[in-house]
Amino acid sequence: MKVNKKKILQIVSHHAKIPLVKINDKSSTENIETWDSLAHIRIILELQDLTNIKIPTSNFGQFNSIEELVKKFS
């Protein structure tokens, strides 16, 4: 099952503790300081649970932007 882009943005907003309006397609771990390693793993695990799409832990680091998350989960 896939999720829509809005849901992905909400999940990132929740775990990175950043207002939804401050997130856009260009957002990534590079430009959102609070999207740290702990927030990142929580985001990936929640998206995996919701979609049942499994990613090897060794590839978690690749999905470090909204663009990559949308490509994979949406």
């Binding site: 609070t34 702990l38 793993i41 832990t57 060794s58 590839n59 978690f60």
Partner: protein, 445 residues
């Protein structure tokens, strides 16, 4: 063989490039040439290192295939293969450290093994582990022996990284793009190599004379010269590593192979988290993807405290990975504490400090941690810190500094040049590689 030596620049590199470009359109021939030359490069220091890396290649290729083809015992083979690699690393790099400390604790006198320390073993062990884990997750569809062999021994990154993934390397070495001579990449590679050479020979090596003198006579230092010694080492270490990365990327690029970015102006970092995104980038990525994420994702609920505990563990491991000594462990500990502090601070304080102040504070913290990286033992590091913070007598210092300046004017010139380059100039990536690296960034380890 080191990249900046005469034998590498005048003999090995021209010979390699000539043979490579004579054979680069013939897949098997090209790879065999690169494998043989890489082994020659590796054996140059000590031919006795060679059997171990060959043994490691053979066993790991066999284990990788077992992991890939196994249906029931996939995890079993993965665990066995990781234990094999850790044991190999432990036996050659760490066993004497543990014997030493065991003797100290129990008052015994067990003889050390004094095994030769095979160069690059820490790097190729981590790189092989990425291969094995990727085999386990069925990320690797095809692995011809020659591709795996070259992936492990490819000379530009064999001794000190960058640590790359098998697919990242294989996709390039097998691509049609590599079979075309690209003059643009060749020139960029040569230019990058030259930048690295200048950093190493004219900056790092010059700084090292003062650093060696300072660390060799700590009791003669006062606060000013102690600070200059510590910062000189920080800049020396910066240029040593940065030069190595430039030369490694430059060599590979001359053969049309793009290695991932591994260094990105780390002394401009605004905090320790940022520092590790810029310093030894592929090591950080390895630790995150192959240790941190797997440990955390094995838990149902990931608490903040648990994640910080894992962070500290990772940094202790990273410190110890650099060498079998308490100083490296303490270096890792200081960085772990620093990163945890950066995670906790926003939860406690509700204001941001200026970027300039953030960089200044981070630079000074990193400078203090690097003292332990350079020190032969913890006492030496603590002595230098005492000199920096406690041995203050401003009147004498001014006279001493004048004398020191006259005696070591070349060092002061190098120090000022270093500061200008580190903080005010574009880095090598920005100058020559950005476009290329951005193309490959998504595939970075």
């Amino acid at each position: 063989m080191l990249f900046y030596t005469k034998e590498f620049i005048l003999l090995f590199l021209p010979l390699t490039l000539t043979l490579y470009y004579l054979a680069f359109r013939y897949d098997l021939c090209k790879k065999i040439i690169l494998i043989f030359l890489s082994l020659a490069f590796y054996s140059w220091w000590n031919i006795y290192y060679l059997p171990l890396i060959l043994f490691s290649v053979l066993v790991n290729y066999f284990l990788g295939n077992k992991i890939k083809t196994a249906i029931i015992k996939k995890k079993f083979y993965l665990i066995i293969s990781i234990i094999f690699n850790i044991l190999l690393l432990f036996s050659f790099k760490y066993i004497d450290f543990f014997i030493d400390n065991y003797n100290l604790l129990t008052d015994r006198d067990i003889n050390k093994l004094n095994l030769p320390f095979p160069l690059g073993i820490s790097f190729y062990t981590f790189q092989i582990i990425t291969y094995l884990v990727d085999c386990y997750y069925s990320e690797i569809k095809e692995s011809k022996f020659r591709n795996f062999f070259l992936f492990v021994v490819f000379f530009p990154q064999l001794i000190a990284g960058p640590i790359i993934k098998y697919n990242y390397f294989k996709d390039q070495i097998d691509s049609k793009r590599v079979n075309v001579f690209n003059i643009d990449n060749f020139i960029k590679g040569a230019f990058l190599f030259l930048i690295g050479y200048i950093k190493k020979v004219y900056l790092a090596n010059n700084l090292s004379f003062y650093v060696d003198k300072g660390f060799g006579s700590l009791n003669e230092l006062n606060a000013v010269t102690a600070w200059i010694t510590s910062f000189s080492f920080t800049f020396q270490f910066y240029f040593d590593f940065s030069a190595y990365v430039d030369m490694a990327l430059g060599c590979a690029l001359m053969m049309n192979i793009v290695l991932p970015k591994n260094f990105n102006s780390p002394l401009k970092a605004i905090n320790l988290i940022d520092f590790w995104k810029r310093w030894h980038i592929t090591l950080t990525n390895f630790l995150m993807n192959y240790i941190y994420f797997p440990i955390l994702s094995s838990r149902q609920n990931i608490s903040f405290n648990f994640s910080m505990l894992v962070t500290l563990f990772i940094f202790l491991l990273a410190g110890f990975w650099h060498g079998p000594s308490w100083t490296f462990l303490f270096f890792g500990f200081l960085h772990g504490i620093g990163v945890i502090f950066n995670h906790v601070l926003p939860k406690v304080l509700n204001f941001q400090i200026s970027k300039f102040l953030s960089i200044f504070l981070t630079l000074n913290y990193v400078n203090i941690t690097f003292i332990f990286f350079r020190s032969e033992n913890l006492n030496q590091g603590i002595t230098l810190l005492e000199k920096m913070f406690l041995n203050i007598n401003l009147n004498n210092h001014f006279i001493f500094l004048q004398k020191d300046f006259v005696e070591n004017n070349l060092h002061y010139f190098t120090l000022v040049t270093s500061i200008m380059i580190i903080f005010f100039l574009k880095n090598s990536n920005q100058i020559s590689l950005n476009k290329l690296l951005n193309l490959n960034e998504k595939k970075d380890i």
